[in-house]
């Protein structure tokens, strides 16, 4: 066994060129082979790629899908998103535990099956869902959970769990997944009539500067959520000093914001449009290499995407002198993630691509100046690249004429929660929230979480507002909550999520979010007083201002936006006690152990 480990690990490292920068690929491969990256494997990898053991261990310990202790041959990861919880996760979770005879975080005694929970896997429109190794199982029920366990006990081949394929490319031979696209509304940009590679051809007939100019004329802004002007980003990257280095194009397909799944649909149905957009980006900024950073939850799409890349290489859409354009060489590789929300933050994503823990980097320098391997890098969202490809094809003026004034184009929205038709909607920017709610069949919604946990929770008085960068901005996540839902329970869940996903690097985020959650729970349990609301606001602002990256800068939003939009819910729970006394301290509760030991209660007050 040890000998086997030695040769296999050595082989894996060699296949990655013994390159420390490919650490993610190395540890992922070792994990896949042996169910863990054992202490012995850590040493072997370290000596093979010539780095310290702790450097390997810090990577393995960081990512949720990697472990130093052995996991079962099959790992069931049940999606623990709030949407899944509201869609009957609890009985499904209980069934899994009962049928397997283990709790979450445990492995069956025969070492075959491990049961875990994981945050949003991008299947909110078909919740509850789980991953069984890389396979996705959707629309879970207690019966289905039983069926999965029975099936796995007979045969650990997870492919056998899929009986009926989803629509479109989900049924492709290289995907064969039961996932559904649920595209409910097609718009002009992403799902409009499209002539493949027309955009790339037009771009290559222009100078790179002209391509960037078109992005600026189209006023394309980043679709991932932050909304930075794409043309400007490309211009900065092109202009940055790259002496002795290459420039890079990176596509952020680490779609981890809970409630977002539109990139999954794009990767399934519009992979070529995406790669075309990345190639246009590469041409515009002068890059020869591109990276698609694919979240581990979407590993089931990997073979399909690799195949799409290979076809492009065959058709001279990637490689040297692309489409006959002398001197334009560009290729794309896929970098797999390993389960970390923070890696959706662009500098963390670059750390991860470099084979490091997904820690954010200091800014400045911005990735456009010094990104991947300290070279000028442009990082864009999947949808942004698709838009870029369409802008080249149909013209900047066409794109700029769509949507609203400050937010041209369309936006893909991933709608989930308490509505009749959850799924992906392509709508023009500037759509009223009330119109969207009508469209998705969510009349009478109590609240809508726009932009995922890091966005805002709004109530009926805000349904007249519009979805665009200048009003309600979103990377695509729209979660609808009906009147029966407890808003503070949702907020509490979101804070749990951020505490779990914080990388722990900076104190405001690592500690501040815990303090926020503690105070929130005090309030929820009737131990709050009116001044606690001010405390939450002040602490929330501090965490936002003082945190190092986007995670901490947005993590107080669930509390801050509900304090603003649903203040009555908080006010109903707090009460003014005796001045100076802390409502969180209860003498009766504090002496329970001693009272039990002594056989009598606390002294009567003298």
């Amino acid at each position: 066994m040890s000998k086997n480990l030695q040769t296999t690990v050595k082989g894996i490292c060699q296949s990655c060129g013994n390159d420390r920068g490919r650490m993610m690929d190395i540890v992922r491969a070792v994990q896949e082979q042996f169910g863990c990256v054992s202490n012995e494997a850590l040493d072997l990898i370290a000596s093979q790629v010539n780095c310290h053991r702790v450097e390997v261990e810090s990577v393995v310990s960081f990512y949720a899908f990697l472990s130093t202790r052995p996991k079962g041959q099959v790992v069931i990861r049940l999606c623990d998103d709030i949407i899944d919880r509201f869609n009957g996760l609890e009985p499904v979770a209980e069934t899994f535990q009962k049928e397997l005879g283990i709790n979450f975080g445990q492995t069956t005694s025969d070492g075959k099956i491990t049961l875990e929970k994981t945050p949003c896997i991008g299947m909110c429109d078909q919740a509850p869902a789980c991953m069984v190794n890389d396979e996705i199982v959707t629309y879970l029920s207690t019966d289905k959970a039983k069926e999965i366990v029975t099936g796995l006990k007979k045969d650990l081949n997870v492919k056998k769990l899929v009986h009926k394929y989803g629509d479109g490319n989900n049924a492709n031979d290289l995907v064969k997944s039961m996932v559904h696209n649920n595209v409910r509304q097609k718009g002009e940009v992403i799902f409009g009539d499209h002539i493949a590679e027309e955009g790339l051809k037009k771009a290559l007939a222009m100078t790179p500067q002209e391509v960037i100019r078109d992005m600026k004329t189209a006023r394309l802004r980043g679709r991932g959520g932050a909304g930075f002007p794409t043309g400007m980003k490309w211009e900065f990257t092109r202009a940055a000093d790259a002496t002795g280095k290459k420039r890079y194009v990176v596509c952020n397909a680490d779609e981890g914001e809970p409630g977002t799944f539109k990139d999954r649909v794009l990767l399934t149905e519009k992979a070529d449009m995406l790669f075309e957009g990345m190639t246009i980006g590469g041409y515009a900024i002068g890059a020869e290499a591109g990276i698609l950073y694919l979240r581990a939850e979407y590993a089931y799409l990997r073979a399909f995407l690799e195949d799409a890349l290979n076809k492009r290489r065959k058709n001279n859409l990637l490689g040297n002198n692309i489409l006959g354009k002398a001197g334009f060489n560009f290729d794309i590789r896929i970098q797999m993630g390993a389960g970390a929300y923070i890696c959706g933050e662009e500098t963390s994503l670059l750390s991860s691509c470099e084979g490091l823990r997904g820690d954010p980097k200091n800014r400045p320098p911005f990735p456009a100046q010094q990104g991947y391997l300290a070279a000028p890098t442009t990082v864009n969202n999947v949808e942004t690249f698709c838009c870029a490809s369409r802008i080249m094809e149909k013209g900047a003026g066409w794109f700029a004429s769509l949507g609203s004034k400050g937010s041209p184009g369309t936006k893909l929205l991933s709608v989930s929660g308490d509505c009749h038709n959850p799924g992906v909607y392509e709508v023009p920017f500037g759509i009223k929230l009330s119109d969207l709610l009508n469209m998705v069949g969510a009349n009478g919604a109590q609240a809508v979480q726009v932009g995922g946990p890091s966005g805002s929770m709004v109530g009926p008085s805000d349904y007249g507002r519009t979805i665009c960068y200048d009003d309600l901005a979103t990377g695509g996540s729209i979660m609808v909550f009906g009147p029966e839902r407890n808003i503070l329970e949702i907020v509490d869940y979101f804070m749990d999520f951020f505490i779990e996903e914080s990388c722990g690097y900076c104190t405001p985020c690592r500690v501040g979010n815990v303090l926020l959650k503690q105070k929130l729970e005090d309030i929820m349990h009737g131990r709050g007083e009116p001044s606690d609301l001010t405390y939450l606001e002040n602490l929330g602002q501090t965490v936002k201002i003082a945190s190092r990256c986007g995670l901490g800068q947005t993590s107080p939003n669930p509390i801050l936006t509900t304090l603003k939009n649903f203040r009555g819910l908080y006010e109903a729970l707090v009460k003014q006690g005796e001045p100076g006394m802390l409502p969180t301290f209860n003498l009766e509760e504090a002496v329970t152990q001693a009272a039990h030991i002594a056989g009598h209660g606390p002294m009567k007050h003298h």
Partner: protein, 181 residues
């Protein structure tokens, strides 16, 4: 104008912080010109007789009596100051927080190597205040306005802080007074 009143107490502490108060030496004469002590071990006044401007709290809360005294201080003082490590963090007494109370008492009264206890009983007289499940710092029981760090805080630190408060000036503690390494 009457002199402002100051009260002090030692809860679950070792009286070290009170020793540090006395360490202001001859300045105690200046102090009594500035203030009058009310409830405090210094003058042995047992119950509050007047409202106080400042209450100095040494020690955290280990039992129900500590809690009652601390709450009494909060009701009777305008400003409460946690003085020293035990009031601020629980200190040495809080080392028991890692161990269930029953195990602590068993070790102290039944199983410890030097224990002589023929009755085999853990004291349970109703006059003995019940221990809390864990030791609390003062600010987890009542609102505390200021914290003076140290174990104990140096006499000069206490002096400077008190004088600044009593003369309504900003507390400017030089680095040497709050440096503990």
């Amino acid at each position: 104008m009457a002199k402002p009143k100051v009260a002090t107490t030692s809860l679950a502490g070792c009286f070290g912080c009170h020793m540090s108060i006395l360490d202001i030496d001859e300045r105690i004469l200046k102090l009594v010109e500035l203030i009058e002590f009310n409830k405090s071990p210094i003058d042995d006044i047992k119950v509050f007789t007047e409202r106080c401007a400042i209450g100095l709290i040494e020690g955290g809360c280990a039992n129900e009596e500590n809690v009652r005294v601390l709450q009494d201080f909060r009701r009777n003082c305008d400003i409460l100051i946690s003085v020293g490590e035990c009031a601020i963090c629980g200190g040495i007494p809080a080392m028991r927080n890692m161990i269930p109370l029953k195990e602590c008492l068993d070790e102290a009264y039944l199983n410890g190597p030097t224990v002589y206890n023929p009755s085999g009983k853990i004291p349970d007289d109703k006059e003995i205040p019940l221990l809390l499940n864990k030791v609390y710092p003062a600010h987890e029981v009542v609102k505390i306005d200021y914290h003076l760090q140290g174990c104990p805080p140096p006499a000069d630190t206490i002096w400077e802080a008190l004088v600044a408060l009593l003369t309504d000036k900003p507390v400017a503690l030089p680095y040497e007074l709050i440096k503990y390494d």
